[in-house]
Symmetry: C2
Subunit: 348 residues, 2 copies
């Protein structure tokens, strides 16, 4: 157990829980499973039903029963009062040091509220943000934040998101000087709302100024112009989901195209190995797992409708964050940047 | 001339002007060209250079020279002062009845500002909005508004966008009862910012209540759940461009997939007729031309980097709006709905 990475899993969150969680663990490659141990929080009857099917998973996990859980409709305020919920107990285990990371496919607002209350934010950070890696033209990834944890954001929030996004990208992608941009409706100086304009000014005057590209637009996200794209949680959530929806639409239209005639079908069969490689690059399941950055602990949100493939990828991405000591990177980035002094200078 | 539709074109707006404008007209099918006449506003030397190549276009157009034009960087306030700009003169011709519609690929903010000042909004409407049709899973189109004319929107703006979007969809798509939804970060009641929540409440209490579906998320846009999706101009612009970016990314990844091996390349050749049909469905050039709804006149914004194919489609979409008397539909929809009384009731 000593060298194993211990991950606490909320087994009651999302559309396919607890099935996707247990099947997701089972779906992991053998050599990855060997290094991991899971704390499973939720209804033991439901969990055990799946564990009995997968003895390999049973061997590397321990069930912590609770029949309290948070639904997709629960307000964060209610979630905060449910002290024995599966999300809460999983986060408590991270706080107490029993686990090194938490994953939940449940209610984003509840996860954010409970995690912030229990773990507290890193000094200098007002609000955690959801950060998601998405594929880009350069064959690398673009980190987009916030993906929906903060609906209304001011310029200081956006500025802090840039700091966290940059530190995250350094740790998660082993990149020394990630390029940062703010998402806007145009690349010209005068475009955008006040929060965006002011955050841009703050970044130009900060220690990140050499890596700040200015504004990018929605169609630049996947071009890979910037490594880190900063936006408020409303816009980020819509943009990410719009991209997912577009991918599904294009996949479906292409499928129709291939079924167009017998010749097209034969063409499809011949091209299928290339097409499958391409599909894998596009498939959002490969990129599941958005970290809630800015907290004293690694908390990862899985897509609510994750299946086993998707959940397995969330686990793998989380393991990577633990191994790369993502939070040490964020904290040292904030400390070395004289960040709080900068904030005060700007506020003065 | 009597039965021809007369369209005023800003020949100086966008990345490829005036080339894309003249070549766009030339690219139109012969039977469409026969019914049209164009008023071309801009630098006559530059315009004539292209007209000399396309005598067919020269025969169905008249050049109005001006050497004043609005750049992509000009603020709307400056645009309002440039009384002889190509955009302004084109809109003046609509106001005076010389043209039945205006198309510009130029600065959106300037187009919005000048059009609003000269044409004024339809009674009951505070701000015009950019509305764009995009393809969906059902093989129909979804209308998305606002696409970037209004960066900050309150609930009353969103409510009015719903009214205009519904009327637009009726006229443009010949659909009696378009389903309306508000774009949000979740489908649950309590999700979203105040503007979204309040606009939802207003729609539930309005004459549109039977056609109001509530909230949809970013990935629902292309599913076609709703015919009209309402959002603020910041989010709408980012969402539309994110979809465009995803479409380009998808195309590029598929291309790589087909080049993967000789067998894949042969497969591609065999499947190419189906693939080309699919590509046409996805290609945003087919859907170019966003109407600025809510004005006393038909004003259409073309994509800034439109080429001839794209600009030709903007013309065709504009002709369709003129033929279907889009603004009569909006005005009668507002009048028959007792819209202003509803607004007052809600404000009380």
């Amino acid at each position: 157990m000593e060298n194993k990475i211990i991950i606490a899993l909320d087994c009651m969150g999302g559309d396919n829980a607890p099935g996707c969680v247990i099947e997701g663990i089972n779906f992991l490659e053998k050599d990855i499973k060997e290094d991991l141990f899971f704390l499973l929080y939720g209804d033991e009857k439901k969990i055990n039903k799946y564990l009995s099917k997968y003895p390999e998973v049973k061997n590397i996990s321990k069930v912590y029963h609770t029949d309290v859980y948070i639904t997709g409709e629960d307000k964060p305020s209610l979630a905060l009062r449910k002290r024995d919920s599966s999300i809460r107990l999983a986060i408590d285990s991270l706080k107490s040091g029993g686990a090194q990371a938490v994953i939940s496919a449940g209610n984003t607002g509840a996860l954010m509220g409970v995690a912030k209350m229990v773990l507290k934010t890193i000094p200098g950070i007002d609000r955690p943000a959801l950060i998601q890696l998405i594929p880009n033209f350069l064959g690398r990834s673009t980190a987009l934040l916030d993906m929906g944890a903060n609906i209304d954001c001011d310029s200081m929030n956006l500025f802090q998101f840039a700091i966290m996004g940059s530190a995250f990208y350094k740790a998660a992608k082993n990149c020394n000087n990630p390029k940062i941009a703010i998402l806007n409706v145009g690349s010209e100086e005068m475009k955008g709302n006040d929060a965006v304009k002011h955050a841009s000014q703050m970044l130009k005057e900060s220690h990140l100024k050499d890596n700040f590209l200015g504004y990018v637009e929605g169609d630049d996200i996947m071009k890979g112009l910037a490594d880190v794209v900063v936006t408020d949680g409303f816009t980020g959530n819509v943009a990410l989901k719009a991209i997912e929806g577009a991918s599904k639409f294009f996949g479906s239209v292409m499928k129709d195209g291939f079924s167009n005639s017998l010749i097209s079908k034969i063409g499809y069969l011949l091209a299928s190995s290339g097409i499958n490689k391409a599909k894998k690059k596009i498939d959002h399941k490969q990129h599941n797992g958005a970290m809630l950055v800015g907290l004293n602990g690694i908390v990862v949100k899985s897509h609510g409708n994750a299946d086993k493939v998707s959940f397995a990828n969330a686990i793998k991405n989380t393991v990577n964050l633990v191994k790369n000591k993502i939070n040490d990177e964020i904290i040292s980035s904030i400390q070395s940047s004289d960040f709080e002094k900068e904030e005060n200078d700007i506020e003065d």
